[in-house]
């Protein structure tokens, strides 16, 4: 494909996402500054600690620039903490925690419990069964009308899409499976904006 996919590398599991994209022969760079962001056509927001990333997004000046790019239609894929960063409402976060409101969902941070409750399970999706690794995962508690649910677990949505924004409450980057990254690149990044 033409263009470079960036992986937000302020904190978290950015290296695992880069490996997935590299396996798809997608050119990928780590994004830590506004200069880095200027080089990319799409952005992956990894798992990690959402409050840490929120803090670093503000101090690096990236928050406002990413916000503008998303409004202009940049394709974004957020996993776990990355999904929290994209959500319109966050429960159980820090009061000063910011998000891009790019996805009309309400999420509750760490709603599946602490690390001893973290789990893995198979999920039915339009791409077939996908293995989901949930680590101190956020739960989607409300979805807006324009949000499409691509996968659920115990009745809660865990894989959702709204236009050029894709988000998962689990970690596809920790599996030997590139289908979700391929879907993001081929069906969202490479598709012309409407």
């Amino acid at each position: 494909m033409n263009g470079v996919v960036g992986v937000l590398a302020l904190q978290g599991a950015f290296a695992a996402h880069c490996e997935k994209l590299a396996a798809l022969d997608v050119e990928c760079i780590e994004v830590r500054t506004t200069e880095d962001l200027g080089k990319v056509t799409a952005l992956v927001m990894p798992g990690g600690e959402s409050s840490t990333m929120s803090h670093l997004l503000v101090s690096s000046g990236l928050f406002d620039v990413i916000d503008e790019r998303i409004a202009d239609g940049m394709a974004v894929f957020g996993t776990c903490a990355g999904m929290i960063l994209l959500a319109s409402d966050i429960a159980d976060g820090r009061d000063d925690q910011r998000s891009f409101s790019a996805l009309d969902i309400s999420v509750r941070r760490n709603a599946y419990g602490r690390q001893v409750d973290s789990f893995e399970t198979d999920l039915a999706t339009p791409f077939g069964d996908v293995h989901g690794v949930f680590i101190r995962a956020p739960r989607i508690e409300r979805i807006g009308k324009s949000v499409e649910v691509l996968g659920s677990h115990d009745g809660d949505p865990v894989l959702v899409r709204q236009g050029r924004v894709l988000a998962a409450s689990f970690h596809p980057e920790l599996n030997e499976d590139e289908r979700l990254h391929r879907f993001f690149v081929e069906e969202i990044v490479m598709k012309e904006q409407e």
Partner: protein, 299 residues
């Protein structure tokens, strides 16, 4: 994994996964709820709850044990980020208690007084993931073979002196680089020399990295120290006494977080290193006699 809705907790993937999520971050030692808030406010990706920071354990002497559950719960109740806590080497009951308390990671730590001078904890027996210290690659691989899901280079905790952390990181990562150049026959010799399981040595030869994340601990006192560890190849840093034994903890904590993220950007490092007040005083290695060296504990 089975198909359907069967879900499993405590798998290697789930346990190593949390270590993956902490990469690029700073894990800060805190001794009370107030410090835990300062750490989270500064952007820490996790806190280590303990009763005394290593510098005080070193000063006080005596036996250092797992912290009081009440104190750990107090810290858990005020932050949303993961909370870690330390168990003594080989003290699997302390680890069982920490797991029951719902801590997110157990550090089987040489900073506490060892409970077993031969055996480490069988970490596969737990749902909670473990981090262990290592001074060299053999020690790291032995800990991984016991189930550790994260390795931290030990350094020398409570000294504010980065020299041992650098020695240990260079030893571990340097040997990994050499192993990637070895032929298949030489790998048997490497396993023997390192006193490490052959399959793990063979895996490193193929991948060029440890099967779990490697973080740096023991002696980080400044933003430059954190960036040094990251440039040497650490994937995140632990800061113990370095923050709350300094003159002004909050700005120093924020600066170390920035330095760990922007570790290759000297302009950012120069900016965040300004006006932080005095770092912890620190101790030179020749001022510590053998029995006071924490890094030598562990087998």
């Amino acid at each position: 994994m089975t198909s359907g809705n069967a879900s499993s907790v405590g798998t290697l993937k789930v346990k190593r996964g949390l270590a993956e999520m902490l990469k690029g971050g700073v894990i800060m030692d805190v001794v009370n709820a107030e410090q835990a808030k300062i750490a989270e406010d500064a952007g820490a990706c996790a806190v280590m709850a303990l009763e005394r920071v290593p510098a005080d354990i070193r000063r006080d002497g005596g036996v250092a044990r797992m912290s009081d559950p009440e104190m750990i719960e107090g810290i858990k109740s005020v932050v949303r980020i993961p909370v870690m806590a330390k168990a003594r080497i080989g003290h699997f009951v302390e680890a069982q208690i920490l797991e029951a308390l719902g801590v997110d990671f157990v550090d089987e730590s040489e900073v506490l007084t060892p409970a077993d001078e031969t055996h480490h904890i069988d970490k596969f027996a737990f749902t909670v993931p473990f981090v262990c210290g290592a001074t060299n690659l053999g020690e790291a691989l032995r800990r991984i073979s016991e189930g550790a899901c994260m390795i931290r280079s030990k350094g020398e905790a409570g000294t504010g002196n980065i020299v041992e952390a650098v020695r240990h990181l260079r030893s571990i990562l340097g040997d990994i680089r050499k192993i990637t150049q070895a032929d298949s026959a030489e790998l048997f010799q490497w396993a023997k020399t390192l006193q490490a399981p052959l399959p793990l040595v063979q895996e490193i030869a193929e991948t060029g990295k440890l099967p779990v994340p490697i973080f740096c601990a023991g002696g980080i006192a400044t933003p430059a120290d954190a960036a040094l560890a990251m440039q040497l190849g650490a994937e995140a840093v632990f800061v113990g006494s370095g923050i709350f034994k300094s003159d002004d903890p909050a700005p120093r904590a924020r600066a170390i977080v920035e330095a760990t993220t922007h570790f290759r950007d000297a302009h950012v490092l120069a900016k965040v290193s300004r006006g932080l007040g005095a770092p912890m005083t620190g101790i030179a290695m020749d001022e510590i006699n053998g029995t006071q060296r924490f890094a030598e504990r562990g087998w």
